[in-house]
Symmetry: C2
Subunit: 204 residues, 2 copies
């Protein structure tokens, strides 16, 4: 079934909007719209309004750039968190991923991207100035660079190290090594090589 002609402009508009989302083709979009059509009107209104409200009312935390319903996010507002440690991440998703580990009790700083010359993203497109201001202030004792282990991540790490290294702050990165459940045989040689070089005392 292709879509040369729609029986309704309203239908066509809705299908086009859904099809503009990443990974949603026109057939899937049509299926989603037909599903909405079968729901009652107030549910569909709630759906539509949740999208509009999200975009128009969402805020980004003034301290860490994390997504938030308030000017300062819940994490930055939480008195129990360690203000001496700042974990630098690429995106909001990364904040959520680290939060879900329940292992980190410091604050975050969301860069809003990663240095990627191919995509035309340079340091000035990211929230690096405000990070430097924080570090310059002197209250931060440790900056954890928690970026992806890709070329872009490494480039950004290197750039951040150069910008922040001159201040009195310790700069760390996430441990690299074998993931839980990895089989040696199928581990790439760079990861395996680092895992051997950075070996740890055995702990029972």
């Amino acid at each position: 079934m292709s879509f040369t002609e729609f029986p309704s402009r309203l239908l066509e508009n809705a299908v086009n909007e859904f099809a503009s989302l990443p990974g949603i083709g026109r057939k899937t979009a049509f299926r989603l719209v037909m599903n909405l059509l079968r729901r009652n009107s107030s549910d569909v209104r709630k759906f539509g309004e949740s999208i509009i409200k999200l975009r128009e009312e969402i805020l980004f935390c003034k301290i860490c750039n994390n997504i938030s319903d308030t000017e300062i996010c819940n994490i930055c507002n939480d008195e129990r968190r360690d203000r001496n440690v700042v974990c630098v991440v690429e995106s909001i998703q990364d904040v959520m991923a680290i939060e879900n580990t329940r292992q980190f009790k410091g604050l975050y700083h969301v860069l809003g991207g990663i240095i990627s010359p191919i995509d035309g993203i340079g340091p000035s497109d990211l929230k690096i100035d405000s990070l430097e201001e924080k570090v310059k202030g002197g209250s931060v004792k440790e900056v954890i660079l928690a970026l992806s282990t890709t070329m872009e991540g490494d480039t950004t790490n290197f750039y951040l190290y150069r910008r922040l290294g001159k201040y009195d702050v310790s700069i760390t990165t996430l441990a690299r090594g074998l993931a839980i459940g990895d089989e040696l045989e199928y581990t790439d040689e760079i990861t395996l090589g680092r895992a051997i070089n950075n070996r740890n005392p055995y702990q029972q």
Copy 2:
């Protein structure tokens, strides 16, 4: 990444709404919502409104039950179409699929489903009474049963035949046989058996 805690209720609401769509999991929903967040506000408002308007303003054609922006759909309104032939289909998608072939010049009748005891759908849940009224009126010369070749389709065909057979109307079904591109070797035996029994004179 699981989603135990969202940094924002607005974000959580929007993700929940998308995740309520068929085939959209929570990770995909999150990705779609993050995509919307990167767009400008007026585009997102258009997206949301297209959904709300669709549900609140859409009409179903009073004659054929096809989706429509007007009380009578474009097909039923089209003077050039043959009012003597009515093609009975399960859904709006089927109307669009047949329209795309550009082979059919009659009218449609959308049942809005198919008889399926397992799903609790009986004849009274479908637009069968209005179909019978049309046929009873006497202007319809042919009813084409264009339902899926499934057990539910066959059941519905049988039921419709019993309801409509008593009127002066010819009742036909779509031709069954090999699909274009089918290889004999991989064709199921029922299809192949029917294709042999319903063989046609060879046309050059």
